[in-house]
Assembly symmetry: C2
Homo-oligomer: 329 residues x 2
């Protein structure tokens, strides 16, 4: 049995979309419990249908519309997000799920948790679709660059996550602009020298971003700026490809006929390749377990984020990561 603290105020749609998703998820998963945090007025309509494993805790305060991370670090509001963090920090929940901005989640992690000294700040871990199963990629957060030490911290986090579910050594690579050992910035080359001596991983050297999707790796380590560029480029390319297929199949009746057939057959497969579908990123590196959902998640996607939180609890990622980070120092 796991207990989640869920803030339903975040994201592009707030409670109107997220609260029903939470109700559906916990109706189907009666073995787990949830504390739902939201604005009392916004959530009133959903309270009649609460399953017995959900509790709602309302608040009348909202975060001001333009709240930035720097402001939120200095000013405490009785927002639903803040209350969800307090609930998790005090041990009343095993993990927290929110669709709010990474920056705001980072700010509240700063207030409610201690970042492991091996990394400067929490890291955003994401699961990226590949030819085989999704791989772990980090950092996808707001870091612009990463020192060799930080890259090693990212590697330790990725290693801990993969090792928690498999007895095989995680196949881990560093993202670079070439595969040769003498390529790239010094931080990468220093990190590579260290990683090649780590006994717990199968270090695969430098890879370029196309290798991320090949299915030959379990963990890809990079800085947040590059990681974000890779994921967004994948999303853009997938959209471009699907649009081209759609256009090509709409020019005549034969194409439309094939399109009808393909829609049912290819759509599920192709949408499984979309990074946006693999919702639920882990903000790792503190004693808390925080799962970030996309802001525009639909019901299915938000439920995927809730499942990811359950997985994080059951695999004890937070503890495994901290143990691995201790060793990496």
């Amino acid at each position: 049995m796991a207990v989640l603290a869920i803030d339903v105020q975040g994201g592009d749609f707030g409670p109107s979309r997220l609260f029903p998703a939470v109700i559906t998820f916990f109706s189907h998963n009666p073995q787990h419990q949830g504390h739902v945090f939201g604005h009392s007025a916004d959530c009133a309509t959903f309270l009649q249908n609460l399953p017995s494993n959900l509790r709602f805790q309302g608040t009348d305060q909202r975060l001001p519309a333009d709240t930035g991370p720097a402001h939120l670090i200095r000013h405490q509001y009785h927002s639903s997000l803040e209350k969800a963090f307090q609930c998790h920090q005090h041990g009343q929940a095993d993990a927290l799920v929110s669709a709010d901005h990474t920056g705001l989640l980072m700010a509240l992690m700063h207030r409610h948790a201690v970042t492991h000294p091996a990394i400067e700040r929490p890291v955003l871990v994401s699961w990226v679709p590949t030819v085989k199963r999704p791989l772990v990629m980090l950092d996808l957060g707001a870091s612009f660059s990463a020192t060799a030490e930080q890259l090693l911290g990212f590697a330790a986090i990725g290693q801990a996550i993969v090792a928690s579910k498999s007895s095989l050594k995680p196949r881990l690579a560093l993202l670079n602009l070439g595969v040769e050992a003498n390529k790239g910035p010094q931080a990468l080359r220093l990190a590579a020298a260290q990683l090649s001596t780590w006994p717990g991983i199968d270090y695969c050297g430098f890879v370029e971003a196309n290798e991320v999707f090949s299915g030959a790796l379990d963990v890809v380590v990079t800085d947040g700026f590059t990681g974000n560029a890779v994921i967004k480029a994948a999303e853009g390319t997938l959209d471009l490809t699907l649009n081209a297929i759609r256009e090509e199949l709409s020019v005549d009746w034969l194409g439309r006929l094939f399109g009808l057939f393909l829609g049912g057959r290819l759509k599920p497969r192709l949408s499984s390749l979309d990074p946006r579908r693999h919702n639920g990123a882990l903000l790792a590196g503190t004693e808390l377990t925080v799962i970030k959902s996309h802001g525009h998640a639909d019901s299915q996607a938000f439920q995927a984020a809730l499942s990811k939180a359950i997985e994080a609890i059951e695999c004890q990622w937070s503890a495994c990561i901290r143990r691995q980070l201790d060793q990496s120092l």
Copy 2:
């Protein structure tokens, strides 16, 4: 009439693949002329069929197999690449085309040309497929990061290229990890402040990498590390998508039937979305006009690189770029 200097020794296949491509191209384009540079022994078999607008200049020296850029800057060989550079530098050709490594081309540009002071070293400009026509993206070279001044230099180069072919103001954006003005590293924010005052462009602010493919932009500016990651991620995603379609259509006879239909219909369209198909990147920022082909280019792709060189000459990119860089200082 344009004159090209072409080194056929570079790339994964050398003269066996590149020389026939050159012969085909110049047979179809009798208005242009080419000086072909290659190793005499490797090229002997191709010399009987030379069209009258091609001249071959052989050499008996090769670059040592493991020559790196740093070595090549200090040591001069009578290689075919070196001779092609000399030919272009001395004005006997209007542009140079090679499938050799970016690093080696950079080293020889260093020897044979002067980089404009607005950028620290030559920049690799590439054309990326989008929903509409390909956009100009730079740097895709070996720079690991870029200062605000360098980003402005990149912007000036992109502006010059697009403006040489269109009277509309180029729509130009900076690649970042968010679209908000306060996002990202300082170099990007400083460059953004400058670009918003440039009269010759339609500055579109920050974009994330998915926007590169949307067709709403003419130029995207980024550092070489991120640019490489974006292109390679696009290639990887395209491969992933096509493999998924192929697999999904091979499970039964109905799928294979549709696959036959789709092969003829979709393949040309989808392969036009592949960045690898848009062969021919411009090494910009000196008085030379150097076009770099992919190392694994096939005949069609190498001919695309030759066409790009003709376009560069006819649009006078080198002069336009230097004028624009002068203004950006």
